[in-house]
């Protein structure tokens, strides 16, 4: 049993109180004295050469204070890609400069080339409408295959073939994989699209730049998942200012899902504008701008081949993928289709030979970057779809085939043919659990009931693994990362015994303020109500790489636990002094420091007070104060895994698919707060079902975004989804972090899309539409109906 309010308890969230009463403080809610408002002028064409920008009329508009264009930022650096990915031939990644505002050319609809600053939002908008740009439209490069094949058009003049890289993983294995395919008894081939998505955190991006001319300090309030990363990118790469002169604050943030990891030009622009007019400058995106300018997700075109024997044993796997990176390389855009995708292509299986090829293609579309799951949903979808197709081709049971190919618990630690070392897992156990909670045995009866109502029912499975807790600096460094990926925390015990924890993780919905307090409370034996979690402000927290890649708890949480361990160690020193005992004889238990084997003890509060009132300390050996910082860099990724089952009903006359059941059996390692973990899985599955059935970003041939609002981009709504059945009782604790945690934030979005698609194909096959082998996501009614028509 978990301690009351400690590790493992479903403690309700403390942050809810402010969100439920309208007291949340999101960036758009912040107003600084004297602030002006920015409106960005964005390209209406997908591709064009900027001949000149006339700002005179805009400057003459009422209330307009300043107009800046790309020209004003040519002295600054570019916003870099965070990972360098070399090509198969050893050549370097081709990385165009990504300026604050477009200069020379505009490269996608929504590419900002000027900003107008005015006294009011409406005056800034009026001013923006008065900026006159002379832009010669160039042919838009939208389709990836054409971008690569047609040498006459270039998104970036200096990059021929529109390729950032052509990556092979692992290149040395290619010949062996090809050889295995040549002699394989059976080869299943599938060409598929991993559909382009728009993240759509409900809070649109927003930034406020502030500049103090007296101290020459900049301050940026922004919608960020990782304020320190923003500080680093803006200070060191883009604006060229000392890091210590920039504070980045990410207050309450209304969801991220990846889209708020990245630094965007608007952030540097409001800082520069604030300095230029010596007043704070605020910008809040409207949803239309978010659609055009937030980093999109996914957008892969893949050919996957699976070689097996006639019994369905996997012999080799090979994929060729074109990954759309859009018009510029966003910060994680090069890692997402490579090291977060290619390295996962072994899945939970013992496939002996795997080779992955990824070409990253520039197009005249918004940049594409990590979106919930980032690379791992693409890998999982490809694998689980081709496995399903192979089972149908060979008339094999998809459950039995997966079981036969799973790694077994005795094989860990296991080094995959794509370079990861899985530390632990039990994939049979989660599949067993799924059979139970999803009542797979009862499917046939449910199918018969659906048939009576004129609906085709289908069942789809997906068994998945991910690498998360995105960190180990030594590993990511070898893989091309230009930064370290560790995390940090400071635990500050105040004289009166209450605690502030400054964490490098950032909560934008995950509930860190509650869960992190639960952990510290559990470790120190003091009430969670005496513990505050502080995040999102570079001036308060020691350092942090933020929250994405299901890393908050596994990396940031571990840093916090390490800092707590240091607090306990320091407390023991203080206790030894106060109790006149040897440090080695002090034990800490239930919030008390005591001398082993005696009843001599000091409470945590007494130790804390003594640390700040050190009247008789031996100061040469015992330092006053009780505050500790830890940086933690793990030894490996963590490897959550699970098994998902989806049941759908298809209305064959209209093609409409209803998800009528969804079950998830996950292994997240140890669970700190089951209520929050369930919520994370629900949200991830909803996004996965959204990808599978509803969501698609569509550009026309001219590069106009046809899905630029909620009128055409289908967000999952309450009546699109069923109740979910989730379980995380199968636990193989992570072997290399002290909490034994793996991460749960992305699981739902990774495991669910193939389960949904497999279910629809199953429904159609069972319903007599055996010619339907595959439908590309999203499986909208019109696509499903068209597939049925053949």
């Amino acid at each position: 049993m978990p301690k009351d309010g400690g590790i493992g308890a479903s403690t309700v969230r403390r942050e809810d109180i402010r969100f439920l009463t309208g007291k949340g403080r999101y960036t758009a809610d912040i107003n600084l004295r004297g602030q002006a408002y920015a409106c960005f002028v964005r390209s209406e064409v997908a591709h064009g050469r900027i001949n000149g920008i006339d700002t005179a009329a805009a400057l003459a508009m009422p209330g307009v204070l300043a107009v800046m264009t790309g020209e004003d930022f040519t002295g600054m650096g570019g916003n870099p890609a965070g990972w360098h990915i070399p090509s198969r031939d050893g050549s370097a990644m081709r990385e165009p400069k990504r300026p604050v505002l477009a200069h020379g050319k505009v490269r996608h609809v929504g590419d900002a080339y000027a900003v107008v600053v005015a006294e009011t939002v409406e005056q800034a908008r009026d001013g923006a409408a008065a900026v006159v740009a002379d832009i010669t439209e160039l042919p838009a490069i939208i389709d990836m295959a054409r971008a690569v094949a047609d040498p006459s058009h270039r998104v970036h003049d200096e990059i021929d073939g529109n390729l950032a890289f052509d990556w092979g993983w692992i290149e040395d294995n290619r010949a062996a994989v090809d050889a295995a395919f040549k002699i394989a008894p059976h080869v299943t081939t599938l060409e598929l699209v991993n559909n382009r998505l728009i993240p759509n955190a409900m809070e649109p991006r927003a930034s406020i730049g502030d500049y103090d001319a007296g101290t020459q300090d900049y301050k940026l309030y922004t919608t960020s998942q990782n304020p320190h990363l923003h500080r680093l990118l803006i200070a060191a790469f883009v604006m060229g200012m000392p890091e210590n002169k920039l504070t980045v604050i990410a207050p309450d943030v209304g969801g991220g899902f990846g889209s708020k990891i990245y630094h965007y030009g608007e952030e540097a622009a409001v800082l520069a504008a604030a300095k230029a007019i010596n007043r704070p400058v605020k910008w809040v995106a409207d949803r239309s701008e978010s659609f055009l300018s937030d980093a999109h997700g996914r957008d892969h075109v893949t050919k996957i081949e699976l070689a097996t024997d006639k019994q369905g044993n996997f012999l080799a796997l090979r994929t060729e993928t074109m990954a759309n990176v859009g018009a510029y390389l966003s910060n994680f855009s090069t890692a997402t289709p490579t090291f977060l995708h290619g390295t996962l292509m072994a899945g939970p299986y013992k496939t002996p030979l795997v080779y992955v090829n990824v070409k990253a293609v520039f197009t005249n579309t918004a940049p594409v970057d990590a979106y919930r799951g980032a690379g791992r949903p693409e890998a999982t979808y490809s694998i689980e779809r081709v496995v399903d197709k192979m089972c149908r081709e060979l008339s094999l049971d998809p459950v039995a085939v997966r079981r036969a190919n799973f790694l077994t618990p005795d094989q860990f630690p296991y080094t995959t043919p794509v370079g990861l070392m899985y530390d632990t897992g039990n994939y049979q156990a989660t599949l067993d659990k799924l059979m139970e909670i999803g009542d797979l045995a009862g499917f046939e009866a449910r199918r018969a009931a659906s048939a009576k109502n004129g609906k085709l029912r289908g069942l789809g499975l997906s068994t998945w693994i991910e690498a998360c807790g995105i960190a180990p600096s030594n590993l990511v460094g070898q893989l091309g990362a230009r930064v370290g990926l560790f995390d940090a925390a400071t635990v500050r015990v105040n004289a009166t015994g209450n605690i502030s924890v400054m964490t490098g993780a950032h909560s934008h919905g995950q509930g860190h303020e509650t869960v992190f307090a639960q952990i510290v409370s559990d470790k120190l034996g003091i009430p969670a109500s005496s513990i505050d979690i502080v995040h999102g402000d570079t001036s308060k927290i020691p350092f942090g790489m933020g929250s994405y890649g299901s890393r908050s708890l596994a990396v940031g949480g571990t840093a916090m636990v390490k800092a707590v361990d240091k607090i306990i160690a320091k407390g023991k020193k203080i206790a030894a002094h106060m109790l006149e005992a040897a440090e080695g004889d002090i034990v800490f238990e239930d919030g008390k420091f005591s001398v082993t084997g005696t009843d001599k003890a000091k409470s945590f509060g007494e130790i804390a007070f003594s640390a700040y009132v050190p009247h008789n300390y031996p100061l040469e050996t015992l330092e006053p104060g009780l505050e500790e910082t830890a940086f933690y860099d793990p030894a490996n990724f963590t490897y959550p895994a699970g098994a998902y089952a989806c049941e759908v009903e298809v209305d064959a006359e209209t093609g409409k698919v209803d998800v009528v059941g969804f079950a998830c059996a996950d292994d997240f390692g140890n669970v700190m707060n089951p209520m929050i973990v369930n919520g994370q899985v629900h949200g991830g599955v909803a996004q996965g079902i959204g990808q599978a059935l509803l969501e698609l970003a569509v550009y026309d041939d001219n590069g106009q975004l046809l899905t630029g609002s909620y009128m055409d981009y289908t967000m999952p709504r309450a009546d699109d989804l069923p109740m979910f059945t989730v379980d995380h009782s199968c636990i193989t604790p992570c072997t290399h972090n002290p909490l034994g945690v793996k991460g749960c934030g992305e699981a739902g979005a990774i495991g669910s899309p193939p389960a949904v698609v497999n279910a629809v194909i199953d429904a159609l096959q069972r319903g007599g539409h055996s010619h339907v082998k595959h439908i590309d996501m999203p499986l909208t009614p019109s696509r499903v109906w068209a597939a049925i028509q053949g």
Binding site: E122, D286, T654, T714, T780
Partner: protein
């Protein structure tokens, strides 16, 4: 959005006067007009709100059938027409979402005549009469293609009179994102025969499917339309569905509406 002068008259007469001003436009709920104005695609100089006019509010049985005030919200129709004309109430109760239904009005919807709006199908299938500040317009004369109606400049829909059919039903297949009708079919069995009106499907806006009307007038059952086919020519094609798909939905939904009619 561009700024404008906002006026909110309390009588139809005052509204007509206000709308005579240069650059004046009616605001009748605004659930479509406001987003358009935010995009600066509409920029009236004067905006005349019609939602403060008591004589344009409400649902009651009267001469010629069910009378609905032009500024009556969808929510009120859904509630107050539930007994007298359930198919119409059902339609109103599935427009947009609860908050939109509290602001959007029948007059606003008909004046805009969005090709994917629900109400035009009910008005056309019921053979309703659109009442304005200056005349009465039969449904068959009112709809003149996408976003186009018989209304003159400054003319206000003060009400709609619906003959109540013996049986009727509306079947809507949602455009998944906007929840407008990808295709919506309203079937009404009236004294003079069956009328079938289709919204969402045609490039020409709401239309009557006369082949189905003839078949159903002879035999009001889903089987009667099973043998018919709808030509995809002239049907809307977009990312949410091809012409052939919409043509299919017209037929499928018509059959289902007949089965559901009560």
């Amino acid at each position: 959005m561009h700024n404008f002068e906002f006026v909110k008259p309390s009588t139809v007469a005052d509204a007509v006067t206000a709308l005579a001003a240069s650059g004046a436009q009616a605001l009748s709920g605004g659930q479509t007009l406001l987003p358009t104005m935010k995009q600066r695609l509409a920029a009236p100089d004067v905006l005349v709100s019609l939602t403060g006019i008591p004589e344009m509010q409400g649902v009651c049985m009267g001469d010629g059938g069910l009378n609905i005030g032009g500024a009556t919200s969808h929510a009120v129709v859904a509630r107050d027409a539930a007994k007298s004309y359930p198919a119409l109430a059902e339609l109103a109760g599935h427009i947009g979402d609860p908050a939109v239904r509290n602001r959007g009005t029948i007059g606003g919807s008909l004046a805009n005549n969005d090709p994917s709006a629900c109400y035009p199908s009910a008005v056309l299938a019921s053979g309703a009469t659109v009442v304005t500040d200056r005349r009465r317009i039969a449904a068959d004369d009112y709809f003149q293609g996408m976003f186009s109606t018989a209304l003159e400049e400054g003319e206000i829909i003060t009400g709609v009179i619906f003959p109540v059919p013996a049986k009727a039903a509306y079947m809507k297949f949602d455009q998944p994102a906007s929840r407008f009708a990808l295709v919506g079919v309203f079937v009404a069995q009236l004294a003079g025969g069956v009328r079938v009106a289709v919204t969402g499907a045609s490039e020409g806006g709401v239309f009557r499917w006369t082949a189905a009307e003839n078949a159903l007038s002879a035999n009001f059952s889903a089987a009667a339309v099973a043998g018919l086919s709808v030509a995809p020519e002239g049907m809307i094609a977009d990312m949410h569905g091809s012409s052939a798909y919409r043509a299919n939905l017209v037929k499928v939904l018509t059959g289902r509406a007949v089965t559901a009619a009560r």
